[in-house]
């Protein structure tokens, strides 16, 4: 194990010769995942995800606002990822790190391209009043692959959202929220992300840890939905790779997706 810190690349190669990783996983095996919802009672929806040692918590706060003039009949969903100095020495205190911003944008793109939330459902009164869902994600402990964990946390938290009933007074036009009656919010679809990275240009490994991220190049993230469609494919950098390898990743992502969807269903029931 000492050798793994001193000569990470060399010792990693010896492990890969035996088709196993230092933590005992096979190359395409993901870490144990724990999903817990509703753990923040003050939020309108929340989820906590543990992916091995990586821990991400997501809280959703619903607020009423006036919609933008461009989309008068649509609500707004705002994801925000935070990777504070608390979660790893890789991050310094101060403005959000590049990685956090990239994940924020990833989640934003994902929500826009999939049908998990129909923003028209968030409309209370057209052109007057809509819900805005602030989804704040915080990485509590970082051990690689924050992306998969944050997708899981975000979707589970959105499924957990319960918003109070709003009635608008006809005479005064003022909204009245009834905190007693809260209804669950209809979400459609259960996207699930799987990340891979490439070691030494030839070995593809799934769900990398922080140490593995440091010594590998290029990451591939595939998001699948319940119909096994690809919703989002992101491949950043790394060496040129033949298409067959990519298909392997897609296949594994589909398998992993169906496992993860069992988790979504288990916490929903």
């Amino acid at each position: 194990m000492e050798l793994l810190n001193l000569q990470p690349v060399e010792s990693y190669k010896t492990f890969l010769k035996e088709n196993i990783r230092p933590d005992g996983r096979e190359l395409m095996e993901t870490r144990q995942t724990v999903l817990n919802v509703g753990s923040i009672s003050t939020a309108d929806g929340s989820a906590l995800v543990k992916l091995g040692e990586t821990m991400v918590i997501c809280g959703v706060k619903a607020e009423l606002t006036i919609p933008s003039a461009e989309d008068p009949g649509k609500g707004i969903v705002v994801p925000n990822m935070e990777m504070s100095a608390l979660c790893s020495s890789h991050f310094k205190p101060g403005p959000p790190s590049e990685q956090a911003q990239v994940i924020t944008k990833f989640l934003d793109n994902l929500l826009k391209s999939c049908t998990v939330i129909d923003t028209a459902d968030l409309c209370v009164m057209k052109d007057k009043l809509v819900w805005v869902l602030y989804c704040d994600l915080i990485c509590l402990n970082y051990d690689g692959n924050a992306l998969d964990a944050s997708v899981l946390a975000l979707i589970a938290a959105l499924q957990n959202v319960k918003i109070p009933e709003v009635t608008v007074d006809d005479e005064s036009g003022l909204p009245h929220t009834n905190m007693e009656v809260k209804k669950a919010f209809a979400t459609r679809g259960m996207p699930c992300a799987t990340t891979f990275t490439v070691f030494d240009g030839s070995h593809i490994i799934a769900d990398p840890t922080l140490k593995e991220e440091d010594i590998t190049e290029g990451n591939i993230t595939v998001v699948t939905d319940e119909h096994d469609n690809l919703i989002y494919v992101q491949r950043q950098g790394g060496l040129a790779m033949p298409e067959a390898e990519m298909q392997k990743c897609v296949k594994r992502a589909v398998e992993h997706g169906s496992e993860m969807r069992k988790l979504y269903l288990a916490v929903a029931s």
Binding site: F106, N109, N229, L230, I231, Q236, G238, A240
Partner: protein, 229 residues
């Protein structure tokens, strides 16, 4: 540009060496989208950012108006990863390459236009690369069932979509290939599609990328011939 008329890629234009003070620059136009890129490097680098084994790459993405936000950061990261994988960085340890991407006009397919512009600017700067990255954007459109004109599952693939095409499409995919083997270096696909549709997008993008490489070659030879004069 006689080459363009036969292609569904729209108007392609590229001018290198447009900026005096940069080490390499390129103004790239694809359709109505226009991007200006300047490259410095290998240049001095702050000690805190240095890498003893290889050069570091910094990408700065400037939007047309306003200050760069999260969307620009995402583009920066994407372009940066591509540059890191193509530039032979181990030739220049402890130095930095700086790439500045300025959006001049965005009418769709911005990401692929930016990557092609960066590719040409790096080439203009004479930076040694493994290959040149070539990017193509493909949009997948699905028509409603009542539309009788389209037979094949009423699907339609649009190469280099405009903003209007992008709005009408269900999924958009940008692929980056290497100019030598046409293997994929990077990919960005957003929107629901089956893996068959994904493969079809990839195939079309690969075909289109060959035309773009030819366009690269033509514009470089044009530049070189004017240099001699």
């Amino acid at each position: 540009m006689d080459l363009n008329s036969s292609l569904p890629l729209g108007n392609l234009q590229c001018e290198q060496k447009v900026l005096k003070n940069t080490d390499g620059s390129a103004m790239y136009t694809a359709g109505e989208t226009n991007v200006l890129v300047g490259v410095y490097g290998p240049a001095d680098c702050k000690e805190s950012k240095q890498d003893v084994k290889q050069a570091v790459v910094e990408v700065n993405f400037r939007p047309k108006i306003g200050i760069p936000g999260v969307a620009e950061k995402y583009m920066e990261k994407f372009v940066c990863k591509i540059c890191e994988s193509v530039i032979l960085r181990s030739f220049h340890p402890r130095t930095a390459f700086s790439v500045i991407v300025q959006v001049m006009q965005d009418q769709g397919s911005l990401l692929s236009c930016a990557i092609n512009a960066v590719s040409m600017a790096l080439q203009d700067a004479g930076i040694s690369m493994r290959c040149m990255p070539v990017a193509v954007t493909v949009a997948l459109q699905k028509k409603e069932k009542e539309d009788n004109e389209m037979k094949d599952d009423s699907k339609k693939f649009v190469i280099s979509p405009s903003t209007k095409d992008e709005e009408e499409s269900v999924a958009i995919a940008t692929f980056v290939f290497d100019s030598a083997q046409y293997d994929s270096i990077s990919a960005y696909a957003c929107g629901p599609m089956t893996s068959d549709e994904y493969r079809e997008c990839l195939r079309l993008a690969k075909e289109a990328s060959k035309h773009i490489v030819r366009f690269f070659r033509d514009s470089v030879s044009r530049k070189v011939s004017t240099d001699i004069r």
